[in-house]
Amino acid sequence: MIAAVKGWPAVLAALLFILPRYARSADDPAGAARELARRTAAFAGRGAPVAVAWRNAASLDSTAAGQARAAFETALEEAGVRVSGIAPAVEVEITLSENQSQYLMVEESRKGEERQVWIASWKRGAPPAAPAEGVALEKKLVWEQDEAILDVASSEAGLLVLSPARVALYTQVNGKWEASKSIALTPAKTVPRDPRGRLRINGKSFQAFLPGVACSGSTEPALEMECRAADEPWVLESGSRAMLLGNFAAARNYFDGRVTTQSGVRKTVPPFFSAASVEDQGRTWWVLAQVDGRSQIFDAAWQPAGLAAQWGSDIAGMDARCGGGQVLATRPADGGEPDALQAFAVSNQVATATTGAVDFPGPVTALWPSGGTSVLAVARDLRTGRYAAYLVTVVCGR
């Protein structure tokens, strides 16, 4: 045992000679630290005191930096080098740095007039996701992926996710979601830069609406779907009762203003991004988030009846146990900023906030009613670039 311990530095020294001239990327900070420690040991010589100074110029947290430092010092001691600031034979300055793809551990070693620079590196991981929070509105993460999410719907077979390029079905196996099947969409035209799409589930069958494309399919016994170029109106629901048909402008990101009411009456209103209905004093009102930036309230005859609060482009109607119909609205911010949702009640053509805002880590890119009492909100995380779909409900009594 003792012989083995004594022999280890010799083996290490021998290994140092057969190391490649330039170090390869390590797997993690500890690996990089060990790599530099080996080279430091060879430079200093066995038993030599080495003074080590550290500087963290990277975005690494103190825990990761501390782990790297501990790994370096342990590896040095294992190689028979003493870490000491008293009369050091070698002075070492280690800087934790970074570039776009890697963290760097940069060592500058000085022994008398001799100076050496060694650099070890390891790959950067994705930054951590932002924590979720909610106050009066409650949001629950439903799905997350790199690709844009246009809509998510829950079916008997699993979770159906609509993306600009595909529809995918995910099923739960042992408590984990697994991809069951994915079908590529074949849109008639180029997908718009701000793509939008809508899923409607009815038992085992579903419809998918995209600009200039209509698809129908089923989730059981296996995912199947057929798409065709079509200018069919999209079904716009609000809460559990109200419904509107709206024509989506192909190759754009808005409805062109041609709408058909539940009673079959056709109307033309200003182009709009989204629509929500509210019940007030026994009458149904519609609110349209118009392309011109205004949120216009319309009466049952589709005559303008006032302007709602200054909202963002996406609104959705839902039923809540408290306060009746609610409109959930994004905030009027630049599309490149973190967004928020807030619930409003409309009474006497005046919108009043009924909840505090629930924040999202980026712009809300899709907002659709989901099952009458909740809405599905998709947000693009500005830090990670990933898309996350949340189910948002109004929680009463808070």
Binding site: R24, N99, R193, F273, A289, Q290, Q310, W311, P332, G335
Partner: protein, 315 residues
């Protein structure tokens, strides 16, 4: 109630852009992605229109109108008066407080560097000038603390090791080097062809004089001993960027660099002998008017990224 609260992008409109450079041919200018050239007036004006079949979808804007050859101060005034939507900003323009102006800044992608010609054979002259330049004063006063002082060819964000090339300002050592030179060798001409860099060149000449060098500043590039130039980093790959920078500066092709350490050694080799003296790494800075949405309209490398912009209301 104020209109214009929509957060989804709007289609339509023209983005009015101004730039200092004046290109004679369309090929010399990188076209904005997602747009196609519709009109060209050499050195004056270019119009690009949205490509209906652009990758990622048709841009929101209908068109982009670019005015070339506009001085920075005029650009800033046009932005303030609402005559332009996107302009370039220099240090002086950044100092001006303009309401509702958005500032887009790239990573430091412009390297300001002194490049010696082959006539200056004595390395002591080159080292003396390197030691004489007070980068800190130039950075604080003339550059308004934009970017980073550097002695490296690659910026820190790209290589991660630029701090290892910390430049030295050592007037005493510079004077000692100059004192050992023969009198004719103490005069070196400095060329600066970009008028906006002239104040920096003048300051370098003053620093050099303190060290005992005589440095007349000239706009004639051909006959000068040393040039003050800017080189733009166009690659986000460190090894590729080093190779491009070396080629632009007329340096030898750097050794292949597969690892950060190899890259450091290759860069160190290029800087040995003081043939080039890196001074600063500077960002590209743009100002955008209040009706521009969807920004920033540039990439980290400072390339135009106008396909995701839209404009609110009329100019």
């Amino acid at each position: 109630m104020v209109a214009g609260a929509a957060t989804r992008p709007h289609y339509g409109g023209t983005l009015r852009v101004e730039m200092r450079e004046a290109f004679e041919t369309p090929e010399a200018m990188s076209p904005p992605a997602g747009f196609v050239l519709a009109a060209w007036e050499a050195g004056k004006r270019a119009v690009y229109t949205a490509d209906e079949n652009a990758a990622g979808g048709r841009p929101y804007l209908d068109s982009i109108e670019i005015q070339m050859g506009r001085p920075l101060s005029d650009q800033s005034t046009d932005l303030e008066l609402g005559k332009a939507d996107v302009v370039e900003l220099g240090p002086n323009e950044l100092r001006r407080q303009i309401a509702a102006r958005k500032v887009w800044s790239s990573s430091p992608v412009r390297l300001m560097v002194l490049v010696f010609g082959p006539r200056v054979e004595d390395a002591r002259v080159r080292e003396a000038l390197a030691l004489a330049v007070d980068r800190g004063a130039i950075h604080s006063v003339l550059l308004q603390r934009q970017g980073e002082i550097s002695g490296a060819l690659l910026p820190q964000w790209l290589s991660g090791d630029a701090f290892l090339f910390t430049p030295a300002f050592d007037g005493a050592r510079a004077r000692s080097l100059v004192a050992a030179l023969a009198a004719p060798a103490r005069t070196i001409s400095l060329a600066v062809s970009d008028a906006s860099l002239r104040p920096i060149a003048d300051r370098i000449a003053l620093n050099a004089r303190d060290a005992g060098l005589v440095v007349p500043v000239t706009a004639q590039r051909g006959t000068a001993d040393v040039r003050l130039v800017e080189v733009r980093t166009a690659s986000s790959d460190p090894a590729g960027a080093l190779a491009e920078t070396a080629a632009e500066l007329g340096l030898a092709e750097p050794a292949r660099a597969d690892t950060p350490e190899a890259l450091y050694n290759a860069e160190r080799a290029l800087l040995d002998g003081f043939r080039v003296i890196p001074l600063f790494h500077l960002p590209l800075v743009f100002g955008a008017g209040p009706r521009v949405r969807g920004g920033p309209g540039i990439t980290r490398l400072g390339e135009w990224h106008f396909e995701n912009l839209w404009v609110e209301g009329r100019p």
